[in-house]
């Protein structure tokens, strides 16, 4: 017979093995193919940007935790590293490092800690950081260079979507082939260029059940339908849905950023509306907006609706409503 103190707790007394840090590190792992691809394409610039964003994020997190006298555990749960990684992945490769650090500080500070830290934020922190940078330094944030793997010196280079929107690439037949989008030897943000690398990571996340399949599915569905309709009507003015799916931040956004659980709805119905909304907005902005790419703004915009979606899409409790 033991006489040591027994544990007292409310039921259940069993716990699943999965934990927040485990999920977070799975996401980090899943980003590795894309990170490696970006290092291949952009060489040391990529490494520097990743380092700046992650370290900037961690330092900011530590500072806030210290100020607010919170336990330092959440520094190491991996969420900040994801925010830093994802922020870096959405930055133009030639962005100056001090700007990247500002972005990381804003992402973690303004995107997350002013709301109370992990789990309380309304907007996707990495995207808040990116949106802040894009609005603070619009020129630097829309100046793209060719991947170092393709050319020796950094020349400015239009991204596939920029080409499509501002250079009438479709009419002139200079639209980037989908094959290139797939492998990644195109211009664009650090981590978004290689679709295949991102998809490998996404597959891993599905296997780990770390993301809700409804979100990418809904986004892809509505973007495909939306761009598809216009493509069918005017194939000479509008690009194919496949192009839109592969180009820009779509895959990164749909699989890694819109799926951020903190900032997506908690109810199934809400999740569908959220995802369909993002896809639709991306299509709208890309086809008719003033910007070439709309993934970031679409996700931020739908983030705003999440509280309302949560509130008005409470699932029907078992036995609620009419019987059966």
């Amino acid at each position: 017979m033991t006489d040591k103190a027994l544990l007292l707790e409310s039921s259940p007394h069993f716990r699943d093995q999965d934990s927040v840090p485990k999920i977070m590190y799975a996401v980090i792992l899943s980003l590795f193919p894309a990170v490696l691809a970006s290092i291949y394409f952009f060489r040391w610039r990529a490494l520097l940007l990743y380092a700046c964003c992650i370290v900037g994020g961690l330092v900011t997190e530590a500072l806030f935790l210290w100020i607010r006298k919170k336990p330092m555990n959440s520094l190491w749960d991996g969420s900040v590293i994801i925010t830093g990684l994802l922020l870096a992945m959405t930055l133009p490769p030639e962005l100056s490092l001090d700007s990247a650090v500002i972005g990381a500080v804003v992402a973690v500070g303004l995107g997350k800690h002013v709301f109370g830290g992990l789990g309380h934020n309304i907007f996707n922190p990495a995207l808040v950081g990116r949106a802040f940078l894009q609005t603070a330094f619009p020129v630097a944030m829309t100046t793209w260079t060719a991947p170092a793997a393709l050319s020796v010196d950094a020349v400015t280079f239009a991204t596939p979507l920029g080409n499509l929107k501002f250079d009438a690439a479709l009419l002139e037949g200079t639209l980037t082939p989908v094959k290139d989008l797939f492998w990644g030897n195109v211009g664009g943000s650090l981590g978004e260029t290689s679709a295949i690398a991102l998809l490998i990571g996404a597959a891993f996340l599905f296997y780990k059940k770390a993301i809700d399949w409804k979100i990418p599915a809904g986004i892809i569905l509505s973007l495909t339908v939306f761009t598809g309709i216009f493509w069918l009507i005017r194939p000479d003015t509008y690009a194919t849905p496949l192009f839109h799916l592969m180009a820009g931040g779509m895959i990164l956004g749909a699989f890694f950023m819109a799926t951020d659980m903190v900032t997506s709805p908690i109810t199934p119905r809400g999740t569908w509306i959220y995802a369909l909304g993002i896809g639709l907005l991306v299509g709208l902005i890309r086809l008719f907006g003033g910007l070439a790419e709309g993934v970031m703004f679409s996700i931020l915009f739908m983030n705003m609706f999440v509280p309302l979606l949560n509130r008005f899409s409470r699932p029907r409790i078992l036995g609620e409503g009419r019987g059966k």
Binding site: P138, V139, T143, A158, F166
Partner: protein, 202 residues
């Protein structure tokens, strides 16, 4: 005095006194303000139609007006067109000049805009945007040169330059100009410039 009449009386009095006061101030500042506005327009016309000494309004509608630039002796040097339309965020208002035959655009100046500072707002900057508008050939339609050129020599006479990162704003200005030119030619062709109230004043 009943409450109602007191109410009416006091409110009316307040209205009366304040409007009297205002009318006074209004009359006092009226000329000055009119002068400011006039001066702004005048200044713009003089910039866009070089050689103008006096100007005269030939036509006006919402978001579109035509002025004649004349020398001291009253001979026409060119037209100044006042135009506005929407840019990236909000309305852009501008003034540009043409020669008498409307074959050449002499200059462009921006009167009012609320584009993004550092981006679209650069349409106000001489070096980045305005200087590329000097002496454009407008017998055909003007087009955008992309990517941005660094000197006017890189452009053909029918091209205008883009501002890096502000394609939309540049494009909007271009569109407004093209549209207004069309309107201007129309008016000249149909004698619209001489019609209307302005004719009586002539």
């Amino acid at each position: 005095m009943s409450l109602s009449s007191k109410m009416i009386l006091s409110l009316t009095c307040v209205g009366l006194i304040s409007s009297g006061f205002l009318a006074g101030v209004g009359i006092w500042t009226k000329d000055k303000i009119a002068f400011n506005v006039q001066q702004e327009i005048e200044q713009a016309i003089k910039t866009v139609v070089p050689g103008t000494a006096v100007s005269e309004k030939l036509y006006e509608e919402r978001a579109f007006a035509v002025y004649a630039g004349k020398t001291e002796d009253g001979s026409l040097v060119g037209y100044a067109v006042y135009a506005s339309g929407s840019g990236f965020q909000d309305t852009i208002t501008m003034m540009f000049g043409t020669d008498i035959e409307v074959k050449k655009l002499t200059r462009l100046t921006i009167l009012k805009q609320t584009e993004t500072p550092g981006l679209g707002a650069n349409i106000e900057k001489e070096d980045l945007f305005l200087k590329f508008w000097e002496d454009r050939d407008i017998r055909t339609i003007l087009t955008l040169h992309k990517p941005a050129a660094s000197s006017p020599n890189e452009l053909t006479p029918t091209e205008i330059n883009t501002i890096t990162g502000a394609t939309i704003s540049s494009e909007s200005v271009l569109k407004i100009v093209n549209l207004s030119l069309e309107k201007l030619r129309e008016k000249i062709k149909h004698g619209g410039l001489l019609g209307g109230r302005e004719k009586d004043g002539n």
